[in-house]
């Protein structure tokens, strides 16, 4: 829907739009992440639904002005529900020539480019490796777009001419000018950002003032300058009523863990070694000292999980957080935790692999490692979060399963949802599920002998804390005699214990929700079966296609080991099962081997999420073929 309206004084067209995607793109040092976050927060505050996608290089400061140093932040906001950060953008903010070069390919035809002309001087063009004498702003190569040229650098300097700040500080404020322009362009207020600036720079009032001045200058520039003739109006979305906040996946994971600790009454312990893109969970939890949270920055990944094993043994709710390379290092200790049968949550924020791979890019390629990446027969529960806010729910679930079933649990998230944000209808404390924990405090047999591996109806052994009088006992990585936990090399016993450990994990299926379609019916021609962060793209496409009359459905798996009990039965309702994954077909293998269904894979390993158009194309292909 598009309406045009004239404003007094200047001819401004006001377009109404359901959804808009804006890409902020600039050098790593240009503050694009902060600018994008402020824009997104303001949009969310005004009731838009949003989804964000920070897309930055792994180098902290690649050479200024080069293609390698381009840092992007994409926000998709709208008056309708938003499930992805958008395939293509409507507006591209390019702070320099390199940014334009990198991000132009995904700008919609007819889209807007806001170009900082100071970033297109001879030097910047050279750094972006445009041929000698070529300037895309001047060679008519951008005629398919509306190009708005703004000398942001000069205008910022002018706005701050009498601020008394040095060139460097003035230079740093230029992202605020752009943000001001964007706020005008999308008819959004500057006040929430001003509040943010005042808090952030409360100890440097001169910097706060400069940022505020620049921000307002940008807004006024949009309002008064003739080159800006289009303003967009994106109304508030009709989201379910309630209290919202904006949240990233890593932040949601962190507070999900805290919530589980508070609800279970267990002290929270995190043993972790910094690794992209998981480190923010360590940062976030480290802030909560006043809630008794203990964070230990370990000497390496192995010590991260081992300290958590120690803390769990001592009775804490113990967590370790990591990404692929760290996960590989933790596998031996995971085997120990499996053998000890103690609760432990391992969060793997997946990234592109193998090896160092693509540290800042997303991938879902650790699923089979999570399933099988241990020596010996060592099955573990594996669950996965499907969106930034779902990280809260699944982190909470991981803790619940770990302590109620006395097992390590692997929670898979990935770089896309870990760094991306969305509005979250957050729960209140009383709405959270109970987590029941009971430590053994007396001998659990009739003959006065402690049986550390005596199992209850869930096949779960008791949790026994050191310090409990009269229950002194030894546990370890060696195979144990059933019930007594004494070391045993007996052949039959080893088989019994191996099967018991596996049965205990299988039994968890009785304590998780059944699978059901997120969209569509229980019978259809095509089922799109997804897991993890592909949820948004699949949901958007499938809903759109159902609305257009297509015979398609979407089931999204959050519990991968064990699978929901009814999954095999559910799959039978569909002629074709399509499994899109950001890997080479890992869930595909699991589904095929477990249920013997000829599921079809759709794989993408580009370090980027699926676009809705490529998904739609694939689904259509299956719908038209027999």
């Amino acid at each position: 829907m598009e309406t045009v309206e004239k404003k007094a004084g200047k001819t401004t067209e006001v377009r109404e739009a359901d959804r808009v995607v804006v890409r902020f793109s600039g050098d790593s040092g240009d503050g694009m992440q902060l600018t994008g976050m402020q824009f997104s927060d303001t949009a969310a505050l005004l009731g838009n639904d949003i989804s964000t996608f920070p897309d930055y290089p792994s180098e902290i400061r690649a050479p200024i002005g080069t293609v390698a140093g381009v840092s992007g932040f994409q926000v998709h906001f709208g008056s309708k529900e938003i499930f992805t950060s958008g395939d293509e953008y409507d507006v591209l903010v390019a702070m320099n020539a390199a940014a334009l070069k990198v991000d132009l390919p995904k700008l919609k035809k007819g889209g807007f480019i806001i170009a900082n002309t100071a970033g297109f001087d001879k030097k910047n063009l050279g750094l972006a490796q445009y041929p000698e004498g070529v300037n895309p702003l001047e060679d008519n190569s951008l005629t398919n777009y509306t190009v708005l040229q703004v000398d942001v650098t000069r205008l910022t300097k002018e706005a701050l001419a009498d601020s008394g700040l040095g060139t460097k500080e003035i230079e740093r404020s230029k992202n605020m000018f752009v943000l001001g322009v964007l706020f005008w362009m999308f008819d959004k207020p500057v006040e929430p950002t001003i509040k943010f600036i005042e808090e952030k720079f409360s100890k440097k009032p001169e910097v706060a003032l400069a940022n505020e001045k620049t921000l307002r200058a940008g807004w006024i520039y949009g309002e008064n300058t003739e080159i800006f003739t289009t303003q967009f109006k994106v109304s508030a979305a009709k989201l379910p009523a309630g209290e919202y906040r904006s949240i990233t996946g890593n932040h949601a994971t962190a507070i999900g863990l805290i919530a589980a600790a508070e609800k279970s009454g267990l002290p929270l312990f995190l043993g972790s070694y910094p690794i992209t893109p998981a480190t923010d969970i360590l940062h976030e939890l480290s802030k909560y000292k006043a809630n008794g949270v203990k964070t230990l920055q370990a000497e390496d990944e192995i010590a991260g999980i081992c300290s958590a094993i120690g803390a769990s043994y001592a009775g804490n709710l113990a967590i370790t957080t990591t990404s692929g390379p760290g996960m590989a290092l933790k596998t031996e200790a995971l085997g120990l935790a499996t053998m000890l049968e103690i609760p432990l949550v391992v969060v793997n924020v997946q990234r592109g692999g193998p090896s160092t791979g693509l540290p800042t890019k997303t991938e879902q390629s650790d699923l089979l490692m999570a399933m099988h990446g241990r020596h010996g027969e060592a099955p573990l529960p594996v669950i996965a979060a499907s969106s930034p806010s779902d990280c809260f729910d699944m982190a909470y679930e991981a803790c619940r399963i770990a302590v109620e079933h006395m097992t390590p649990v692997i929670l898979l998230t990935d770089g896309y949802i870990a760094n991306g944000s969305e509005p979250w209808l957050f729960p209140s404390e009383d709405k959270l599920a109970n987590i029941s924990v009971k430590f053994l405090d007396k001998i659990n047999s009739d003959n006065g002998v402690l049986l550390p591996y005596k199992r209850n109806e869930k096949l779960v052994r008791p949790w026994i804390k050191p310090g409990t009088k009269g229950l002194e006992h030894r546990i370890g990585g060696l195979e144990k005699q059933n019930e007594t936990g004494n070391v045993s090399y007996d052949a039959k016993n080893h088989e019994t214990m191996t099967k018991l450990r596996a049965a205990k994990i299988e039994k968890i299926a009785d304590f998780i929700p059944l699978a059901k379609p997120d969209s569509g019916k229980e019978k259809a021609k095509v089922l799109v079966l997804g897991w993890g962060s592909t949820a948004g793209s699949i949901k958007m496409v499938v809903r759109e296609m159902i609305a257009e009359g297509a015979d398609v459905a979407h089931v999204h798996l959050k519990y991968i080991n064990p699978f929901p009990k009814n999954l095999g039965e559910l799959l039978k309702g569909y002629d074709k099962v399509l499994i899109p994954e950001m890997n080479c077909g890992q869930l595909l293998q699991l589904i095929r081997s477990k249920y013997m269904v000829p599921a079809i894979g759709f794989s993408k390993v580009q370090g980027l999420p699926f676009t809705t158009s490529e998904l739609k194309e694939k689904i259509n292909e299956l719908l038209v073929t027999k």
Binding site: L46, E429, G467
Partner: protein
């Protein structure tokens, strides 16, 4: 007020029902016995002891103590113990490890445990050989050592564990010997009393794969020449007839004959546990081939000086921040600072 009087425990109360399965003559038996002997005197309730061990002959120790214990995985005991202690600082945590477990596969955890200074006790049974895998050279085996994996002699330089520990900022470094029970008991008690990571290297004989490696330090004929027992505040004196002393010439230690030079004991090197410089020099009395001008191997507490403790600081920081900021209610954590309503 009701007072509970408990019968004092005996060493037997610390022996588990598990049959001890080290080889006959293994030095580990003596270590187990000394630990069980001193434990009743440490004043810690039995349920508050936790033993954490890795992998190797030494690490079976955990099964033989009737305390809480975890026999874990190779090299990781120190990392696991750090989590146990951080989670529950009230426990008396004892790590049992060997030269391979602590200094090879677990080397990284070893140095960082020392640096962070958790209040735990770290016993390393050093037999200078890999025994559980049936005889390969270890990171403490001497250069030239002939083993199954070094049939032409090891070409590696060994670690000197006490030097390594001091380099890693250990706050307590001691060395004792399986064949000197009384000395070991005294060292174990001091290790327990020390607040911070107490590193105790125990020279332990492996009768199967590296027999007599340390006998020079315990045999009657040689020990007085080859070993020196250091004690805080006492001069460094050794020799068959206690005729040799060690003194400093500048920063260089020299051996002097007390009888010949008539030097007063007060002019000799007086051992000071808190003197890191002297401890560093002392730890380097380490050459393995003995001759007239070689220094004797020191036994005793080489260095002990308390400094901030990780687990104490962890708790103190939590208390401080809590006092200053107060606990954030869960509902506040869930909502964060910035929310908006949709009607």
């Amino acid at each position: 007020m009701e007072t509970i009087t408990e019968n004092k425990l005996t060493p037997k109360d610390y022996a588990s029902e598990m049959e001890v399965k080290w080889c006959p003559g293994c030095g580990d038996y003596s270590i187990l016995k000394q630990v069980q002997t001193v434990f009743p005197d440490l004043g810690i309730p039995k349920e508050n002891f936790a033993f954490i061990s890795g992998i190797g002959c030494s690490s079976r120790f955990t099964y033989y103590m009737d305390t809480y214990g975890m026999h874990s995985i190779h090299g990781r005991a120190a990392a696991i113990a750090s989590g146990v202690k951080a989670a529950n600082p009230d426990l008396s945590v004892w790590i049992v490890s060997g030269d391979g477990d602590a200094l090879s596969i677990g080397g990284n955890h070893f140095i960082h445990l020392m640096r962070k200074n958790f209040d735990v006790n770290y016993l390393v049974f050093n037999n200078q050989i890999y025994s559980l895998t049936k005889g390969q050279y270890s990171p403490t085996s001497e250069r030239g050592k002939v083993t199954k994996s070094s049939p032409y002699g090891s070409i590696e330089e060994p670690f000197n564990p006490s030097e390594l520990a001091l380099g890693a900022k250990a706050s307590f470094v001691a060395r004792t010997l399986d064949r000197d029970p009384k000395h070991m008991q005294a060292i174990l008690k001091r290790a327990h009393a020390h607040k911070g990571t107490s590193f105790v290297e125990v020279y332990q004989n492996c009768p199967v794969f590296n027999d007599t490696a340390f006998f020079a330090f315990s045999d009657k004929e040689t020990k007085k020449e080859e070993a020196i027992i250091v004690e805080h505040g006492k001069p460094l004196i050794f020799g068959q007839n206690e005729e040799k002393g060690i003194k400093f010439e500048g920063l260089t230690p020299v051996i002097v004959n007390i009888n010949e030079t008539g030097i007063s004991p007060n002019d000799l090197w007086i051992h000071d546990e808190k003197d890191k410089t002297k401890a560093n020099i002392l730890s380097r009395f380490f050459d393995t081939t003995q001759s007239d001008d070689m220094f004797p191997r020191p036994f005793g507490i080489i260095y002990a000086n308390e400094r901030p403790i990780y687990d104490e600081n962890l708790v103190a920081q939590i208390d401080n921040v809590t006092a200053k900021k107060g606990k954030t209610p869960l509902n506040k954590i869930l909502s964060g600072e910035k929310t908006w309503s949709i009607n």
